[in-house]
């Protein structure tokens, strides 16, 4: 029952060959087995959203998936957002609008916002607000996160045209 299963996780285009128990969450596997510690773990039961990653284009809670379920899927984490030294528009907007203080929730917010905007670039402001209620931040009071995501949404739409 505690035997390890060999599998390959593809994170930001890189293959990680690992061996984990079936009960290993995707969040733990990303951090502990693949060494990609940009993804943070807060509550471990799907409430806080700190561990949000993008799996096959869908923003999901990586603490509520098992690593074995992600085999063969394209996983994207915060480490994959920037292009070399150039930050992703969402990261730049978080800096410009002071959308972070301690930074613990930031990777989750970035992956949530990027994941949703890639799926729904024309999402309304009201719906975006609803999306941002998915994740918890204990520092910023959310206003600057909302400003940052709205600014990045405009920037991302511009780049798509």
């Amino acid at each position: 029952m505690t035997e390890k299963i060999a599998l390959t996780l593809t994170i930001n285009g890189h293959a990680h060959a690992i061996a984990v128990e079936a009960r290993r969450t995707l969040a733990d596997a990303i951090r502990e087995d693949c060494g990609q510690t940009g993804t943070h773990i807060g509550c471990e039961h799907g409430i806080c959203g700190a561990c949000t990653v993008i799996v096959n284009g869908e923003p999901v809670r990586s603490c509520l998936m098992f690593a074995v379920q992600a085999e063969g899927k394209k996983i994207r984490t915060v480490e994959g957002l920037a292009d070399g030294d150039t930050l992703h528009a969402m990261q730049q907007a978080f800096m410009d609008h002071h959308g972070l203080q301690c930074g613990f929730c930031t990777p989750g917010f970035l992956m949530l916002a990027v994941g949703v905007l890639e799926r729904e670039p024309d999402i309304s402001d009201g719906d975006l607000l609803d999306v941002l209620s998915s994740n918890l931040c204990r520092c910023t009071g959310y206003q600057n996160i909302i400003k940052a995501v709205r600014a990045a949404a405009a920037e991302m739409r511009k780049r798509c045209v």
């Binding site: 029952m1 505690t2 299963i5 128990e21 079936a22 009960r23 969450t25 733990d28 471990e44 039961h45 799907g46 959203g49 949000t52 869908e58 923003p59 999901v60 809670r61 603490c63 509520l64 998936m65 098992f66 074995v68 379920q69 949530l112 994941g115 949703v116 719906d127 609803d130 999306v131 209620s133 998915s134």
Partner: protein, 285 residues
């Protein structure tokens, strides 16, 4: 906060899944669909299933289609499937509106419609929807196929009429009349929290009077259900404040509210009155 050890089984066909469930149900085997309720419960070790039968790879369980009478929803259809219209019927707008009240966006990417029903949380929006609209649950096992009416399906808090070797393979949700009106409202203290009370209503207007009223209440009793007293207060009345208030009061009088760490029965009874009235007001918007 780590799930206890389990053995994962990955069927590729429905027949394989049913055979595994038949074999493993008695050894504390469970179905894993979206996992958005089961995995948190496992993290808390409130559930320690020895075997998980992961149906995410099973062919054909993502069926979502209409035969003109009912919408068939397969066992692996995610909540997010209802973010947009799924059928050319007022039911589509109803499902889209209700879906956006379910937890949060990333949860809706993974969680499934049928999984919510099998989990049977009293506050579940889909449990309320199926109870109000009179859905039919299709339960399958190696012993055969069984149809269960929504009113016979929910059996108290997190309990259903499913036998331990049965998989909720599909749900058939009847389409609404083309001129049907619907309204929904739920109350929770934070966005995405479990509703402390919720209501879904649907009706038609015939000769300026309400007909075929359905008033469902969720989150207030161990299982969601239609409230006949509230429906009687609506049928034959013109839609508007007087009928809506009478129906809301009738609903709050009729329920036997749950008490929990969040609230006492008296407060929850009053919430039922509020959510039913707001759902009815929403039906006119």
């Amino acid at each position: 906060m780590k799930p206890a050890p389990f053995v994962r089984h990955v069927p590729r066909t429905l027949q394989q899944a049913l055979a595994m469930l038949s074999q493993l149900a008695g050894q504390d085997g469970r179905i894993l669909a979206g996992g958005q309720s089961l995995v948190p419960i496992m993290a808390f070790r409130l559930a320690k299933p020895a075997h998980l039968i992961d149906i995410n790879e099973v062919e054909g369980l993502d069926r979502l289609d209409s035969d003109g009478k009912a919408l068939t929803i397969g066992a692996r259809v995610r909540h997010a499937a209802f973010h947009g219209p799924v059928v050319d019927n007022p039911l589509a707008a109803l499902l889209t509106y209700v879906a956006r009240h379910i937890a949060h966006y990333p949860i809706r990417m993974r969680g499934t419609f049928c999984g919510s029903l099998a989990h049977a949380d009293p506050a579940s929006e889909w449990c309320l929807t199926t109870a109000t609209l009179g859905a039919t649950m299709i339960a399958r096992s190696t012993r055969g196929t069984r149809e269960i009416a929504a009113k016979d399906f929910f059996d108290g808090i997190m309990s259903t009429a499913l036998a331990e070797d049965e998989l909720l393979a599909e749900v058939r949700l009847p389409l609404l009349a083309a001129d049907a009106k619907f309204g929904f409202n739920e109350f929770s203290r934070r966005a995405g929290d479990f509703a402390m009370a919720s209501s879904l209503v649907a009706y038609r207007v015939v000769d300026s009077k309400i007909a075929e009223a359905r008033v469902g209440v969720g989150g207030a009793e161990p299982s969601p259900r239609r409230i006949a007293e509230a429906e009687a207060a609506l049928n034959g009345q013109p839609p508007g404040d007087a009928a809506f208030r009478a129906a809301a009061l009738a609903a709050s009088d009729a329920v036997d509210p749950l008490e929990d760490h969040q609230t006492n029965a008296e407060y929850r009874r009053d919430l039922v009155r509020v959510v039913v009235r707001r759902a009815l007001e929403h039906s006119l918007q």
